[in-house]
Symmetry: C2
């Protein structure tokens, strides 16, 4: 069997390293054709030595030049252009695990080049949903979800007629501040916000999980990916994070996907779809960790980000881009200790309130709207 070649955008991040774990454990099935990082050059070098890629991409030109000197047989690219080259390269699959808006452009170009894309980059669809799904339809290239929730939904949809889908049940851990009042949210610290109860992830997504913006972005992502109306999506808080999401069909039957919180499972499913890659990870135990599963309503009056995500999606056009762009800026400021936790949602609310929407945007328009949203967030703080 020919090995499946994979181009990894963001190979030193949480998703990227877990993808490489799968590749390392299945050397006859997969190989890493491209690796990439922003500035974690020493980690990248370790990966180069281990996985022997054909090409790497880094953020800065100076890092690229140094790497090219050290690895004369390696193709070394940098910056956005480098990521586009990596997405367009002749390979069996691109894994886009970039963080934030800058992940959208490579997805677009990868699809245009006819490459199947496994994506953990939510912004690809939150901001670019309309353009990206049009590109999927035009090219026939596959866009496969890596997010555990979207992979769960995708798994639950297999072997069923599209028209039978009635509802998506998107589960949420609820984050570290589940059950808090608005008053209690006023005083939470960065340290508290960085402690996700169930998943170990990058810091941006961990904060988004604490504010429930992550769930809001996932709702918008699901709307595009599974071609449903936003109000066909129900968010259900499930603190144990065992049911990764579910779907209800129009006969009333609910199909759910469950498992331990291990991102390697959805990553491998995207790599292997429609097949499943055997592993020896421990099985889910219904008598211990899954012995008691609870479900509750999310509190959208306290966690306004989730409510605003639904609203932004209903309004359409540049609203979701604005929601996402202002959030990215504000989370960065929170991580830098410059604003309070509660300022994130309060400022996004102001940004959306005064937003003048645009519709039918192409990629450039989306990128501009994103910049404007970041600036608006700064202005309205």
């Amino acid at each position: 069997m020919k090995k499946k070649t994979i181009s990894i955008l963001g190979s030193t991040g949480s998703i990227g390293t877990q993808a490489l774990d799968i590749i390392e454990n299945n050397p006859d099935v997969y190989s890493a054709k491209v690796l990439s990082c922003s500035r974690r050059i020493s980690e990248l070098k370790e990966q180069i030595d281990k996985f022997n890629p054909e090409m790497v991409v880094v953020e800065r030109e100076e890092d690229a030049l140094a790497l090219a000197k050290e690895y004369p047989h390696l193709q070394v690219e940098y910056g956005e252009k480098g990521l586009i080259t990596a997405a367009e390269i002749d390979c069996d699959m691109v894994l886009n695990s970039l963080m934030g808006m800058r992940g959208m452009i490579p997805t677009y170009h990868g699809l245009k080049a006819g490459n199947d894309i496994a994506f953990a980059n939510k912004e690809t669809l939150v901001a670019g949903g309309e353009v990206i799904m049009k590109t999927v339809a035009e090219t026939g290239a596959k866009l496969l979800p890596v997010d555990s929730e979207h992979s769960a939904i995708f798994q639950c949809l297999q072997g069923n007629p599209e028209k039978a889908l009635r509802k998506i049940i998107l589960t949420a851990s609820g984050g570290p501040f589940r059950g808090y009042t608005l008053d209690q949210l006023e005083n939470v610290t960065l340290e508290q916000a960085l402690k996700h109860p169930k998943w170990t992830m990058g810091s941006k997504i961990t904060i988004d999980s604490a504010t429930l913006m992550n769930k809001g972005l996932e709702v918008i992502e699901a709307k595009w990916l599974f071609d449903v109306d936003i109000d066909q999506i129900q968010v259900v808080v499930h603190p144990q994070s065992i049911v990764h999401s579910a779907v209800e069909y129009h006969d009333g039957s609910v199909i759910a996907q469950m498992g331990k919180p291990d991102m390697r499972v959805p990553i491998a499913y995207a790599f292997t779809y429609p097949d499943r890659l055997e592993n020896n990870y421990e099985s889910l135990d219904f008598f211990t960790e899954a012995a008691n599963l609870t479900f509750e309503k999310p509190d959208m009056e306290v966690f306004k980000n989730l409510k605003m995500a639904f609203e932004a999606s209903r309004m359409g056009g540049s609203y979701p881009v604005t929601l996402n762009g202002s959030n990215e800026m504000l989370v960065q400021l929170f991580l830098e200790g410059k604003i309070r936790f509660i300022d994130i949602q309060n400022t996004i609310e102001k940004v959306l309130d005064q937003h003048q929407p645009k519709y039918n945007m192409e990629l450039e328009g989306i990128v501009e709207a994103d910049k404007a949203a970041r600036q608006a967030a700064l202005d309205l703080l």
Copy 2:
């Protein structure tokens, strides 16, 4: 669209009447070609007037003669031969919702005639597994499960490669005596045993649910239907009966089917497979009835039937037939108030202990082993 014609064996029972409810609500999609009952003639007549079948089958000749006189344009048959005729009739699907061993023979002949069979009759596979599955393989006719657990498993298997199945998680409500000790089981009454916590069903299956024999039979049924080793099946007690069963794949992903306890959903799925029939039944509510789902180990030291079912299946040959046949006889005696609840499992244990197995049986051998098991149960009481 041409209507799908359905021949219903056992139309006045719990499954049969729910199947007719589906047909009544979807008159453009389905029609009942055959109806049948044992002795509930007045209910059958109401069904004849409403559904206008081409043929009916009853148990006794005298009832058949009376019906033929009353409905001169109706084909009326009786007895086992009548049920075989109903299973072999030219139709789009046979629903076998007969109770007990006598359901096996019509399934066999229906498959031989090339008819797809939706079956709620567990004994078809518990006793006849080897012969029946060979017939399925030879004829290419489909055998579709109606039991909520097996329908759940079947739904969870859609869109996945067969070889990826690692484990079946068969859920059990635990019955009305969940948590009881052996001592406590000594004193339970018929009235208590007939109160199933979640499902309304016929009395035989309700008692089997209380003794956990129903789950044992389902394990054996699942082994044959899904072609797994008996030890790939795990029974999980789930008192809320919301998760109807699940499967684990070899990548660690678990797919579960959930819903309200409503047999019309699995019946309709068997009728419509691989499509799903839209309905307006109320959706499962994750914030009330499904808000708290628990899972626990079955106690096989108290509920010996379940343990014996696994053992009988491992031993193979005439063991499962003997388990089932002695159980049918003993449940009947318990329903008649002639023996105690605990006598059921204690006597089955004795029957199996002294059983001289036979292997490679054909239908006749199975029927004989069943009769011998019933007699052995009487002898050993």
